[in-house]
């Protein structure tokens, strides 16, 4: 697939992969909290730790954050993966 801008859940990024925030879902309280933490559309997100199970660690706006697995699947990113 030669799609340069594929949308995918944040939780599916490989460690060290970088992507751009695209959309948020999962209820107002959750999205509002994420927005305040900097997960606004267009923001760059880097996956730091993702073992395929359990929570992940991402870097957004210079801050390292732990995200639950479910939560990481509710954030959609635009990946530069080919």
């Amino acid at each position: 697939m030669n799609n340069e801008n594929s949308l995918m859940p944040l939780g599916t990024l490989e460690p060290d992969e970088t992507a751009t925030m695209a959309a948020l879902s999962g209820g107002r309280t959750f999205t509002s909290r994420c927005l305040a933490l900097g997960f606004t559309p267009g923001a760059e997100v880097k996956m730091e730790r993702n073992s395929g199970r359990g929570p992940v660690v991402v870097v957004v706006r210079g801050m390292r954050l732990a995200l639950g697995r479910d939560e990481s699947m509710r954030l959609t990113v635009r990946s530069r993966r080919n």
Binding site: R28, A36, T40, V57, M63, L65, A66
Partner: protein
């Protein structure tokens, strides 16, 4: 000058806001709750050259959206009380994220001083901030400091004092949201009546309305006429999308300033990141955490337990000395002091050394920044039972004693997760219950005792898992606490901060023992002492007889019922009560007597009952304190009572049907 300058400290978690607050106030602070809320409020005093400052530490929050009770409390205080000066405590090492809150505070139009904390960490990670430029861009004073080392505090006070003495605030241009949003703000401004009986600044109100902030929408709807609302409502239709745009606009602003004032050096991974390769590792991190817990436990029991026993002897000894000293006083008054006051509340206080060690270790782990990592490694498991990683620690502490487990739930930020943790904590089999179980299993099951005990522990943990699932699914539905947590940089713990936090928690425990636990001990003492002599003729004794039919369902006679009832004072009281009622002769006589009055099936039923029965008096008091309402206490007591009675009856009747152990 009349009154002190009122200064509020706002800031996100992990910005060192409390460290700064503690550095300024030291012990001249007191902790309470916000009026009518279960959110902690810290107020302190500071004085310099005759000028008095009244400092308020607002709950940590990432934004001024009302996402949690804490955030709403902060926001209402800022918007309605309008303190003389607001100090925005900012972590210099994550400046971009922190500017978001600064921006929201600016939008509220409050007199602001930015405390640029953790300058040392920023330098360490290769981030150089042009403070003068930041000050110019923001248009408010910016004071760099390192609260942990008390650096820059006097300059901060200078800035606060200067700002407070300023008579007029030059209000700068409103911070633009971009033309599309500005048009919508203008349109909404037109629809909203000019005079509103709401305490918020108008532009801020308009923005929050567009964002669809639930609390603001409700307030405005109540303040305007139905006809006006008809005009307003259509403009708020796509609030979710608008919230996204507004947050985006604020972050664009923050990112632009960040790029302008911060120069970043290329550098290799920070010490924190490298350490996290171990601490966050799915296996390594778990092993480390388990070892750490074991270490804390070992410290508690090797260093503090002997001290506890010594204090215990002292209390028991003091009680009997008191009885001698009070020779000639009426019997009831002697018993009141020695059994009620000293035997009840006094005994609880002997746990201070154990708790001191525990609280100290917790404070160190929090201060170092490890707590977030512990929550990370445990989240996978706790998630399955409807809880999140952070709940593990308080629950684990419950093996020793449920009281610190309940009060320890305070480390969890989300209210629903905190309440769930506190409400299931009494199901953790505490050491006092294990003592009772040991006696019964040894009496009835001989060599199989250890398996029965182990099985019972498993039963308790299973009930705990089911209850926490039920509570989080049904009582807090829709308030699912999401696991989104900052991993702060590790740093050396500050001795002052750790000691203050330990002291604060210990003080809370002592207050609890001195008030609620004391009062409850006295009530139970009264019921078990009057009107006759001895427990069997007391009110409690009568209650026990009256409840005998219920006990019969589980194969228990009135003596067992009373023993169970007195376990409300303290779980180990069961044995003491049985000792009193069934005559003396020591441990072995008690065992013989026990096997005479009940069958093995009834014994198992009693074990189930004892393990799951209502929380002890101290736990009830702690639950009241942490949940802030007697209704939650009633809920916890009620569900445990129901489960224990149903469980024990099922065990006994089931065994009878199968003809086992009767």
């Amino acid at each position: 000058m009349s009154g002190a300058i009122k200064v509020a400290f706002a800031g996100a978690p992990n910005t060192g806001k409390s460290t700064l607050f503690n550095a300024l106030t030291g012990l001249k602070q007191h902790t309470g709750n916000w009026p009518g809320k279960t959110v902690e409020q810290k107020v302190g005093r500071y004085r310099r050259n005759g000028t008095r400052f009244s400092l308020i530490d607002l709950p940590g929050s990432y934004s001024l959206s009302a996402n949690s009770l804490e955030e709403q409390t902060s926001r209402d205080f800022l918007a309605i009380e309008r303190p003389d000066v607001v100090v925005a405590v900012v972590d210099a090492s994550t400046l971009e994220r922190n500017l978001y809150l600064v921006r929201e505070l600016l939008e509220l139009g409050l007199p602001l001083v930015v405390a640029l904390n953790m300058m040392d960490v920023a330098t360490r990670i290769g981030s150089h901030i042009d403070v003068a430029l930041l000050e110019a861009v923001l248009g408010v004073p910016v004071v760099p400091l390192v609260a942990r080392k008390s650096e820059g505090l006097s300059r901060l006070i200078d800035a606060i004092e200067h700002l407070a003495r300023k008579t007029s605030m030059e209000s700068g241009d409103p911070l633009s949201m971009g033309s599309a949003l500005e048009q919508r703000i203008d349109a909404l401004d037109y629809a909203l009546p000019a005079e509103l009986a709401l305490p918020y600044p108008r532009r801020w109100l308009l923005t929050k309305l567009l964002e669809g902030d639930p609390a603001v929408v409700v307030a405005v709807k109540a303040a305007v006429s139905a006809a006006d609302w008809q005009l307003i409502e259509p403009q708020l239709r796509d609030r979710d999308a608008t919230a996204l745009t507004i947050a985006g606009a604020r972050y664009d602003w923050a990112a632009a300033i960040y790029r302008q004032v911060v120069r970043r050096e290329k550098r290799s991974a920070s010490w924190s990141e490298r350490a996290d390769h171990v601490f966050l590792h799915p296996i390594g991190g778990l092993l480390f955490f388990m070892t750490l817990i074991f270490g804390v436990y070992w410290l508690m029991f090797s260093a503090a337990a002997p001290l506890q026993r010594w204090l215990n002897d002292l209390v028991v000894d003091g009680g009997s000395r008191l009885e001698t000293a009070l020779d000639g006083w009426p019997d009831w008054s002697v018993s009141l002091l020695s059994d009620g006051v000293i035997g009840g509340a006094g005994l609880v206080l002997t746990f201070i050394p154990i708790l001191a060690i525990l609280f100290l270790m917790l404070a160190v782990l929090e201060d170092v920044g490890y707590m977030a990592r512990a929550a990370f490694v445990m989240d996978r498991f706790m998630h399955r039972i409807g809880l999140r990683g952070k709940s593990f620690l308080p629950l684990f502490i419950g093996w020793g004693c449920n009281v610190p487990a309940i009060t320890g739930s305070r480390i969890i930020e989300s209210r629903s997760a905190r309440l769930t943790t506190a409400l299931v904590a009494p199901l953790v089999p505490c050491s006092a219950r294990m003592v009772v179980i040991a006696l019964f299993t040894a009496t009835f099951f001989g060599s199989a005792a250890v398996f029965v005990s182990w099985g019972m522990v498993m039963v308790n943990l299973a009930v705990l898992a089911v209850m926490s699932l039920l509570i989080s699914r049904f009582l807090f539905r829709g308030q699912q606490s999401s696991f989104v947590m900052e991993l702060p940089h590790y740093h050396m713990p500050s001795v002052r901060g750790v000691l203050l936090a330990t002291w604060e928690r210990l003080r809370r425990f002592v207050t609890l023992a001195g008030t609620v636990i004391l009062a409850m001990s006295l009530i139970v003492w009264f019921l078990s002492t009057f009107p006759g002599d001895g427990v069997e003729d007391s009110f409690l004794g009568h209650i026990g007889r009256w409840l005998e039919p219920v006990g019969g369902l589980m194969g228990l006679d009135w003596r067992m019922v009373i023993a169970l009832l007195t376990s409300f004072v303290a779980k180990e009281q069961t044995i003491a009560t049985l000792g009193v009622i069934m005559g003396t002769g020591g441990d072995s006589a008690l065992k013989t007597n026990l096997s005479e009055i009940m069958t093995p099936a009834a014994a198992v039923a009693f074990i189930v009952l004892q393990m799951l029965f209502v929380p002890c008096v101290a736990s009830v008091a702690a639950l009241r304190q942490e949940t802030g309402s007697w209704r939650w206490v009633a809920f916890a007591v009620g569900y445990m009572l129901a489960i224990s009675l149903i469980g024990a009856t099922a065990v006994y009747q089931g065994a009878r049907l199968l003809g086992l152990g009767v």
